[in-house]
């Protein structure tokens, strides 16, 4: 997780909203990529869960975009995707071939915790009251996302606690 070239102290509400949208976009894309990877490796349960996460991130992204347009129209933004790295998106190395649904959910939970940590760490540097309120809201939103993932985890049957290694062969060098 990293951020480049963002001055929190002078962040405007418009750019803060755009930043939040970019963070959701990045997470949505990553989950889409993970879902495709799981399709390719014939693990439909993990793919299904990652698609559920795609929907969650997309929904949140749409809500934020609507707010941005309502308040600032199409005024140009000073933030771009090159400035953010894996804020809410799970790290690439969180995925594995033949992931179980449980492992997929654990990876998503870890990235929601990571995103929460991002907003917590950024808050002290923010001066603008509206931006602060937005970041506090986003921080709380990440807790909500964690609750959603935990609810999915709770729905899993106990035998899904088996480790991936229990049913996946070691890669065979030839």
């Amino acid at each position: 997780m990293a951020i480049r070239g963002i001055d929190y102290a002078n962040l405007s509400l418009k750019d803060a909203l755009d930043l939040a949208i970019l963070i959701e976009d990045e997470a949505q894309e990553r989950y889409e990529e993970f879902a495709t990877q799981m399709d390719q490796h014939r693990t439909p349960e993990a793919a299904k869960f990652f698609r559920y996460m795609v929907e969650n991130e997309a929904k949140h992204g749409r809500e934020l975009s609507a707010r941005r347009v309502a308040r600032f129209g199409d005024a140009p933004s000073a933030v771009s995707r090159t400035m953010i790295y894996d804020i809410e998106a799970p790290d690439y190395d969180a995925a594995r071939a033949f992931m179980s649904a449980r492992k997929a959910m654990e990876a998503a939970l870890a990235s929601e915790v990571k995103a929460h940590g991002f907003f917590v760490a950024a808050l002290p540097a923010i001066k603008d009251a509206e931006v602060r309120a937005l970041f506090e809201e986003l921080r709380e939103e990440e807790i909500l996302h964690q609750t959603l993932v935990k609810a999915e985890l709770a729905k899993l049957s106990p035998d899904s606690q088996l480790s991936d290694e229990d049913f996946v062969d070691e890669p065979a060098p030839q």
């Binding site: 990293a2 495709t36 771009s80 995707r81 090159t82 071939a97 065979a172 060098p173």
Partner: protein, 293 residues
């Protein structure tokens, strides 16, 4: 113009529709992201970029970009990239591949692109293994490493890619890793901007055949930023000194940037062409040179 309106190109403009078939978790996923970001920062349109690779998991990378791509022949990315650059000097030319592709079968080519100062950026995804062919010893595998081709442990010292290119006189040498994506995109961008041969070694873990200490966690434990160490990238000998730690420490950032880059081979060729052009025959009369009058 991008959706957010700040710069003309966004990373996604360099992402193709082809779905990567790398193993989930492979370090190369981050490398391609680093490349998208660096290209967006450079801002050249995809059709002005040629991206050449050899053969290997890592060499699939051009296909995942919107640049003109050539997933060529094992070990031959560099000569092909060189030909493309000479034939069409205005193209931004990138070459990429694995440690096997670059330092085993293709190792002999590097010296020649360096001594000519070809204006090409060469990215090696160094995972210390032959990934595509399922886990054989590679030229950068550690001594003692057990693989299917070294059942009792390898008896060979690894190649040190950083020292290798520094010793031949490369003008830009850097190292990056998915452990620091910001740094990775920044050094790739800087390498592309360098006027001449630029080499970026990326420690990109193979999650399927790689060793535990070469995974993200292990790499993080041995990583150190060159800028943080106060290293002066204009000091080639200091760079060589630091490069000796390859395999034990993972220094990230720019090892060496020649403060006075020599002319590129392309520049010299252009100069020679200008010089000779006054006596040159028009194209349609070239055959006359070979026909006895």
């Amino acid at each position: 113009m991008s959706a957010t309106g700040t710069c003309e190109y966004q990373p996604k403009d360099y992402k193709s529709d082809l779905k990567p078939i790398w193993c989930p978790g492979c370090g190369d996923f981050s490398v391609v992201q680093g490349i998208y970001r660096a290209l967006a920062a450079i801002g050249r349109p995809p059709h002005e970029i040629a991206f050449v690779s050899g053969i290997g998991c890592s060499s699939r990378i051009p296909g995942y970009t919107t640049a003109y791509g050539f997933n060529s022949v094992h070990g031959r990315a560099l000569p092909i990239a060189q030909g493309i650059k000479l034939a069409n000097p205005d193209l931004l030319v990138l070459a990429a591949g694995g440690d096997g592709d670059g330092f085993s079968i293709g190792g002999g080519h590097i010296a020649h692109l360096i001594r000519r100062n070809m204006d090409i950026t060469y990215i090696v995804m160094d995972n210390q293994i032959y990934g595509l062919t399922k886990g054989q010893l590679s030229p950068t595998s550690q001594k003692g490493r057990t693989t299917c081709t070294s059942r009792y442990g390898s008896l060979e010292e690894p190649v040190n890619p950083l020292l290798y290119v520094l010793a031949y006189g490369a003008g830009f040498v850097a190292q990056a890793s998915p452990t620091d994506l910001v740094g990775m995109a920044a050094v790739i961008e800087e390498a592309i901007r360098y006027p001449g041969f630029a080499f970026v070694n990326i420690q990109s873990p193979c999650v399927t055949y790689g060793e535990e200490e070469h995974q993200i966690k292990g790499l993080k434990a041995i990583s150190e930023s060159l800028a943080g160490l106060g290293h002066n990238p204009a000091d080639r000998l200091a760079a060589m000194d630091l490069a000796q730690h390859y395999g034990h420490k993972m220094h990230l950032g720019v090892f060496y940037r020649n403060p006075e880059p020599p002319p590129t081979y392309g520049d010299l060729v252009k100069e020679r062409q200008t010089l000779l052009s006054k006596d040159a025959l028009p194209k349609e009369r070239i055959l006359d040179l070979f026909i006895k009058k």
